[in-house]
């Protein structure tokens, strides 16, 4: 009985964390799926969002007001990666790694130390708690859902516009996009900006929800995001329209957290999670190849 209620508690927390992290996954979807660009900047940007938001809260800013700052700094980090890649011709993965490494130092500079605790500070979660009296995980979940729905709506609109179409086409066929009068450099930079802005926002919300920001909180963000995207695709299919796909990505993130929670309850250590995530992603990415091998036999 104890075990069961513990499991339910854990799952509830997992879902709310999953939805908050799902906002990161939406950002990653833009680079990985739309632009076909594996952007490692996100490991740094996620912590950047947390750092910026936490330090501004400690300095006395309204917790909600810190969010636009998190988005803006994230977008800036994305711009740097984009310029490194498109203008300075540094290969995509390396450009992301460079930004990620640089952000490690920058994040510590921003916080003045490797982590900032928000104990006793007003966060978005405690603000709502004061008014409604709901628990942290329920508020986090509601907050995550509100943001996720709004962002999915915005993304659905944006990727239907002329610029949005050009970004989608850039991930498809750069030659065509240039031949049709759009700058693929600009499209990539713009995509990276939006993506990292969302990842940073997600980092800020997670920091406020868990009550601290830590320079290491973004480690593995890319891989976790990929796992979430893949889980979403496998469970909900690739059919239907863009909004449906985005929704399945957020749900994929929630399911990823639930899997993690269950595995932890079964006795795995939290330090084993990175290995587990890597295995999940490697397996999922290799499915098409393995299918082919089996078919050839």
């Amino acid at each position: 009985m104890d075990n069961l209620s513990g499991m339910i508690m854990a799952l509830q927390g997992a879902v709310s964390q999953g939805v908050l992290w799902g906002i990161m996954t939406l950002g990653l979807y833009i680079t990985f799926k739309v632009l076909d660009y594996p952007d490692l900047t996100v490991d740094g940007t996620f912590a950047l969002g947390g750092a910026v938001s936490a330090i501004l809260i400690v300095k006395g800013m309204d917790p909600f007001l810190t969010l636009p700052f998190a988005v803006a700094t994230g977008a800036l980090a994305g711009t740097v990666t984009g310029v490194l890649n498109t203008k300075l011709k540094i290969p995509g993965i390396l450009a992301g790694i460079l930004s990620m490494i640089a952000l490690y130092s920058i994040n510590i500079r921003i916080m003045g130390k490797p982590n900032v605790a928000l104990l006793g500070e007003a966060t978005a979660v405690t603000r709502i708690m004061d008014v409604t009296g709901l628990s942290n995980s329920v508020i986090s979940l509601l907050l995550g859902i509100v943001f996720a729905v709004a962002i999915i709506g915005l993304m659905y609109w944006f990727f239907g516009t002329e610029i949005g179409c050009a970004i989608r086409a850039t991930g498809n066929n750069e030659y065509m996009v240039r031949a049709l009068g759009a700058s693929t450099d600009q499209m990539k930079i713009l995509g990276l900006m939006i993506s990292n802005g969302l990842v940073s926002l997600s980092g800020a919300l997670v920091a406020q929800s868990q009550g601290y920001a830590d320079v290491g909180m973004g480690t593995g963000t890319l891989v976790i995001g990929l796992a979430s995207i893949i889980i979403g695709e496998v469970i909900f299919g690739r059919r239907f329209n863009f909004a449906y796909k985005l929704m399945s990505v957020v749900l994929g993130s929630a399911i990823y957290r639930m899997i993690i929670a269950i595995v932890l309850q079964l006795g795995l250590k939290s330090s084993d999670l990175k290995l587990l995530t890597a295995v999940i992603v490697a397996m999922a990415l290799s499915i098409p190849v393995v299918k082919k091998m089996v078919a050839v036999r």
Partner: protein
Amino acid sequence: MLKLLKINKTFNAGTINEKKVLVDFDLHLKTEDFVTVIGGNGAGKSTMLNIIAGVHTSDAGSVVLDGQDITKDPEYIRAKHLGRVFQDPMMGTAANMGIEENLAMAFRRNRKRGLRWGITHEERALYGEKLKILELGLEARLKSKVGLLSGGQRQALTLLMATLQKPKLLLLDEHTAALDPKTARKVLEITEEIVTENKLTTLMVTHNMKDAIRYGNRLIMMNEGRIIYDVSGEEKKSLRVEDLLKKFESISEAGANDRMILA
């Protein structure tokens, strides 16, 4: 209309693989000229097109289009004036996007893209009409992903996209080379129809001498980065493939390479 002035282009300069692809290359095109370009592998045909399109920058010389010096303009800026179809049918279209979305991208080739909706209702009607001209039944499949189309269909679609907004110059880079003979014929017929109807100035690279003679009002033959034969009007109409082969052999020491003979 188009002037290439003293274009020089060397690949891998200063290395053992140095190759002078274009040497003091001059070319003048008049408005509504339909010029076919032939020449062996490595003659510089594709490089010439790529320098006009801005894919490569020339080492020296200038590109003037309609009185405007575009030598320094990046590829995507020049694209506002140019329609292009590539040899590889995969290169001209976005496979994961629908037919209408591809056309909508092409429709905005010479406009600034903003936050307006990427495709409007009026456009859809226009695309349906335009696709009917191709006689491939694509007008009934506006939403289909382009990746589902055959090479010939994609090439015909690319051609339509390249000319959806009338380009000052249409560049065709062996655009039927990857297609089977029947499909190639069909795409060439569509090409001629569109070029004639819209009075387009056109530069078509081909390795097929028959096509080079049959289409267009002017033919140029290239070898080692230079124009070695330039013929137009009545003289071109009376050309035969044997004349071209002889011409080619007389100037090129190595003789026509196997690709030219097979053609």
